[in-house]
């Protein structure tokens, strides 16, 4: 029913509406304050970035390990009577590495959806539409709504949507957490806690094969040929450096996976500050890994120089 602007009923109804709005807003603000901390939109992009960096490092590490193992198998095959495909099967086969790729992709997709849900623009969009709706209500009643009421409803509406989004985000994080923990734990285990386990063990063994070959070359060189022997000894030392740096690189990836798992567990508990600290450590691990990669490159260059000098 349309009420005349000047009617007592209209002004009484308007002030009641304003009071009710203020009470409701305060009530919801109390509820908001009582709610467990939900991830702010900052932690999720950091988590996503951490996952992307580990994905990239893992892919690179797998390619290097397979290439390095291939060289070892070529050496072994050259001493055999015949060749066969079985000799050259990849140690980290494609079907298996594809599963890692899929897992990282799904975690990225999940993080992207979290980011989208927690985007402050979502609340702004709702707020804007509610403001427009409020204006329309005013026109239909043939008077303006009491000052601030339309805006109050729009703000309340926006807050309610934000609350729903944050509640849904936290529920999803908690639902995903067991899968995330299990996945990252399996990945870390596959890499190996030390160089007698997992991929690290295979890589370390491959390097021992290289050192064995250097040793054989050294033994075959006449003791009078000091230049050649010095060159081989330099190569041996460079190979040791490269081996150690590569193992540190793999350990860095393992450590990053553990940190990502821990940070997600903190997000699931609503502890955003702890999560943020852990994600900062993931970044630090990436920086450490980058430095290690430089060390590997330097060792390779030193080895190439030593080999070139002897020619």
């Amino acid at each position: 029913m349309l009420l005349d602007r000047g009617s007592p009923r209209a002004s009484s109804s308007g002030s009641q509406l304003a009071i009710m709005t203020r009470v409701l807003t305060l009530a919801w603000l109390f509820v908001l304050a009582a709610c467990r901390t939900v991830p702010a939109s900052d932690e999720i992009p950091q988590f996503r970035q951490g996952v992307a960096s580990v994905d990239q490092r893992t892919e690179q590490a797998f390619a290097e390990i397979n290439a390095f193992d291939r060289q070892r198998m070529v050496e072994y095959a050259s001493s055999q009577k015949a060749l066969g495909e079985a000799l050259f099967e990849q140690v980290l086969e494609k079907g298996a590495t594809d599963k890692w790729k899929r897992a990282f992709g799904l975690i990225d997709q999940y993080s992207k959806l979290l980011q989208e849900l927690l985007d402050p623009n979502v609340r702004e969009g709702v707020h804007t539409e509610l403001v427009a709706l409020g204006e329309q209500f005013g026109k239909v009643r043939n008077n303006e709504l009491p000052a601030g009421v339309a805006s109050g409803f729009a703000t309340l509406g926006g807050l309610l949507v934000q609350m729903k989004a944050e509640k849904d985000a936290l529920a999803a994080i908690r639902a995903a957490d067991p899968g995330i923990q299990a996945t990252f734990a399996s990945m870390a285990s596959a890499i190996g806690e030390n160089d007698t386990e997992g991929i690290r063990a295979v890589n370390a063994a491959a390097w021992l094969q290289v050192l064995k070959e250097r040793d054989a070359a050294f033994r075959e060189t006449k003791t009078s040929d000091l230049t050649k022997r010095r060159e081989i000894a330099t190569l041996y030392a460079s190979n040791m450096d490269e081996r150690d740096a590569q193992d540190r690189s793999l350990d860095s990836i393992r450590r990053s996976l553990e940190l990502l798992g821990q940070s997600h567990a903190e997000l699931a508990e609503g502890r955003t500050q702890s999560a943020a600290s852990l994600l900062a450590l993931v970044n630090a691990e990436y920086a450490r890994w980058s430095t290690t990669k430089s060390t590997i490159e330097e060792a390779r260059e030193a080895a190439a120089e030593a080999e070139g000098a002897g020619k």
């Binding site: 099967e89 890692w100 999940y110 969009g125 899968g179 040793d215």
Partner: protein
């Protein structure tokens, strides 16, 4: 292969334990190589190392395959959470669409009423 590695293979060891035993065997051979002066002994140890390395590779390959299959199963829980998130995003989008539709409807009503007032 030495006695430890043989025992490990014969017992129903886990693949991880077998890999670890082989790796330690491989290192033990390398240590022996570094102290051997005889060319024949060095050659024999080198061949043994090759054979042990092959088995380390096979273990590593099987372990990696097993773990990757486990990862493929474990990630399904994240997929379910993503579906939840998408549903939540869709419901907010529907709310916005609803609000827009109501605003538009009221705009149309307003124009009709304006015309009625003129009559």
């Amino acid at each position: 292969m030495n006695d430890n590695a043989n025992d490990a293979a014969q017992k129903n060891m886990s693949l991880q334990e077998l890999q670890q035993a082989l790796v330690l065997q491989h290192r033990a051979l390398f240590e022996r190589l570094s102290t051997t002066e005889s060319v024949e002994d060095a050659s024999a140890i080198s061949l043994e190392m090759d054979e042990v390395y092959l088995r380390i590779r096979v273990c590593g390959r099987l372990l990696f395959r097993q773990t990757s299959e486990a990862i493929d199963r474990q990630i399904e829980g994240v997929l379910a959470a993503s579906d939840q998130l998408q549903a939540s995003i869709n419901s907010i989008a529907r709310l916005v669409d609803l609000i827009k539709a109501i605003s538009k409807f009221l705009g149309v009503v307003d124009k009709i009423l304006d015309k009625v007032k003129l009559i």
